[in-house]
Symmetry: C2
Subunit: 415 residues, 2 copies
């Protein structure tokens, strides 16, 4: 039996036991994991250094090496993250809305885990612990498939977590990782409908596209964000500039950063020269439409392709629009279903924007950077869904659950 | 441009308009549709007769021809179904749980349509009207792809519905059907991620499997039901027999019919001879394990394959089990995630069964035949989901919606 099928079978074998594990047992297991991460940090760092050495040999860019690198402090942060998950409410088991039908059947909806979840992700090893513990807290068995760049770190982290599970009553196969990081095995993994209930890809657009194209298992798409800010004619210019600078520059490599500005033509003269100055001072490269460029000295010309690009970098596209309708139409054409914002003092336009823009998170007068499970008050997130099925926007513990109907009868038959 | 891409583009072009259509307009459109079905019944019947002629020429089994056949009465029933949908609450637009974050952001969850839904189904033409009107009521654009056996009827029904939409402000392209019923086009249809937000297959196991295997668009699996009834040792024998006869024989071709019985060994002697008589009297063929067969004169031997078969016919498998644990294990191995029932007077076992059986609908002391949108009080259903993502069990109007987060700020930026 291949490693893949062996691990898939092992997860399926324990999923029903895990589904009914009491909260106290799950929290005990998570406490053991947090402690074990700290107690085994020397081992984890040793394994991580192998990945770092390989990365240097492979001439990996410095930014990527930094994301791969673990330190005592980063391991402590992981353990703290696990302790934060312990504090969250257990989502499983809640029964809502029991109603009695005319025939006396009582029908309720009970929150249950999804079952076995596959996570396909790229190089950051902290995802390994984060994803495993969120799945555990929500009674889902997880099979991790991380990037080959982090494989030594990931295997070490999973080994430490699995050993910690032995100190609890949670089955050890609740957390597993594929040692085989080949592309072929990943593709096979995406087709294990017999074993997997859900697949969540976490990573760049290429990874997500590959999963969507190849998977037969249900998938939740996460993460790509071509996020817009529309500055309406009534906008407070100070507020608009502050939000734009924040959304573009506070952190550029994240999916909720702003990539494109739409400016109402009646406010263009007032705001664009100022934005040109402020963005340039922050080293942002500006790609603007003809009309915007006349007011932005440092801008280069934007192409059609720019409007569809998630830069994840110090680059922004700018387009002047005639009115809110043109702005909404543009956004609904180019956005990736992530986060969109309007800056306006018009009540009517704020409501119109909230109603008509089709995205997971639609903002009035705030930075798109708030699309995040922690900022939304979920306490944690497994990713940000950009599809409409099952979950949309930041996904916390509740979004890692399904439900079943439980029906109490006393002999009812159908007539 | 192919018919497929043309229709997909047309649906995408109007989906945002449909998303914000007022309830009154949608209900007006549905009223026009109900009237138009009645007023154009002669035309619909004429087109249907072409399908019936073709079916007879192709030697289609009589049961299938009956499902294909329309009559004045069946068209009236379709129109009544549309009027029932009008009476349901519009699910779209509801905002729940606006909470204020410490930074003053107000975050709420707004119910929105899914967008463009593809429905792939088999021969019954009533699905055409039913699915189209449920999608319309929930502000989803629909692209129908029915079976080639019903193509003349389906095209006529869609033509009548689209003409009726002209009398309302609902865009005509809210309802479309693919004239091309080739398998190649169906496969292409399943990969239109750019246009389709969801694909729902309605039909037999073969159709559903093909969609799951080929689709890159998110899918909700519906309908296959290998449903079990477990008779616990404390069961009321009269109640058990009544429920079993109902679940097996009241209608055999449906997904919520019972296909397999599990009998606690301590009650086998008391119930199996009686069930042998009662099932045989209803012309049910019994396939039993060795132990059960000793108590059921008319039974043939069950194979491993029987336990995994959805007969959709007057056949049932029977197996004696040592206890509830064996019953639950058997069910969790063979069931298709549809409907499962226990007959018991034990409080402890009723709770254990509800907790541990992994299926969309889990019953105590009632027939599995109740798994149905109407019986659950949803007023209608688009299908019964057997997967865990997004929706599980009967899917009504709410299950045809997604949500978006709406966020009210006053200048917040992320620190």
């Amino acid at each position: 039996m291949s490693e893949l099928i062996e691990k898939c079978s092992a997860a399926k074998a324990i999923k029903n036991k895990l589904a009914v594990a009491p909260s106290t047992e799950k929290d005990r297991a998570l406490t053991e994991i947090a402690n074990a991460l700290i107690n085994n940090s020397a081992y984890i760092l040793k394994e991580n250094s192998k990945d770092i050495d390989n990365a240097i040999l492979a001439n990996m860019p410095i930014g990527m090496i930094d994301r791969l690198k673990l330190t005592e402090e980063r391991i402590r942060a992981m353990a703290d993250g696990v302790r934060d998950i312990i504090k969250l409410n257990d989502p499983v088991g809640e029964v809502t809305g029991i109603t009695e039908r005319p025939n006396g059947l009582k029908i309720g909806k009970k929150r249950v885990p999804i079952g076995v979840i596959g996570i396909i992700y790229e190089s950051r090893p902290n995802v390994t612990v984060d994803a495993a513990c969120l799945c555990l807290k929500s009674s889902n068995a997880v099979i991790l498939r991380g990037g080959k760049e982090a494989i030594n770190s990931n295997i070490a982290l999973v080994e430490v977590m699995r050993k910690a599970l032995l100190l609890s009553r949670i089955p050890q196969d609740s957390i597993q990782i594929l040692n085989d990081t080949s592309r072929e095995t990943a593709t096979e993994f995406m087709k294990q409908n017999e074993y997997l209930d859900l697949l969540i890809p976490r990573g760049g657009a290429g990874l997500i596209k590959s999963v969507v194209q190849n998977a037969t298992v249900p998938v939740i798409e996460t993460g790509t964000g071509n996020c817009h800010i529309f500055v309406d004619e009534t906008a407070d210019v100070d507020m608009a500039c502050e939000i734009i600078i924040n959304a573009k520059t506070q952190r550029t490599s994240v999916c909720n950063a702003c990539e494109s500005l739409l400016i109402h033509e009646n406010i263009a003269e007032k705001i664009l020269p100022r934005l040109n100055k402020e963005l340039t001072a922050k080293n942002v490269m500006i790609k603007a439409c003809e009309q915007a460029r006349k007011l932005m000295n440092d801008a280069v010309i934007a192409t059609e392709e720019d409007y569809g690009t998630e830069y994840l970098d110090l680059i922004i596209s700018v387009k002047v629009v005639a009115d809110i309708d043109e702005a909404i139409e543009h956004i609904n054409k180019y956005n990736t279903g992530h986060s969109e914002a309007i800056i306006t003092e018009s009540y009517k336009n704020s409501e119109k924007f909230l109603n008509e823009v089709d995205a997971a998170c639609v903002y009035v007068n705030a930075s798109t950077r708030f699309t995040d499970g922690f900022e939304f008050g979920f306490g944690a997130e497994i990713g940000i869904s950009t599809q409409k099925l099952h979950a949309r926007g930041p996904m916390g513990l509740n979004e890692l659950t399904s439900y079943k109907y439980i029906i109490y009868g006393n002999g009812q038959v159908r007539g």
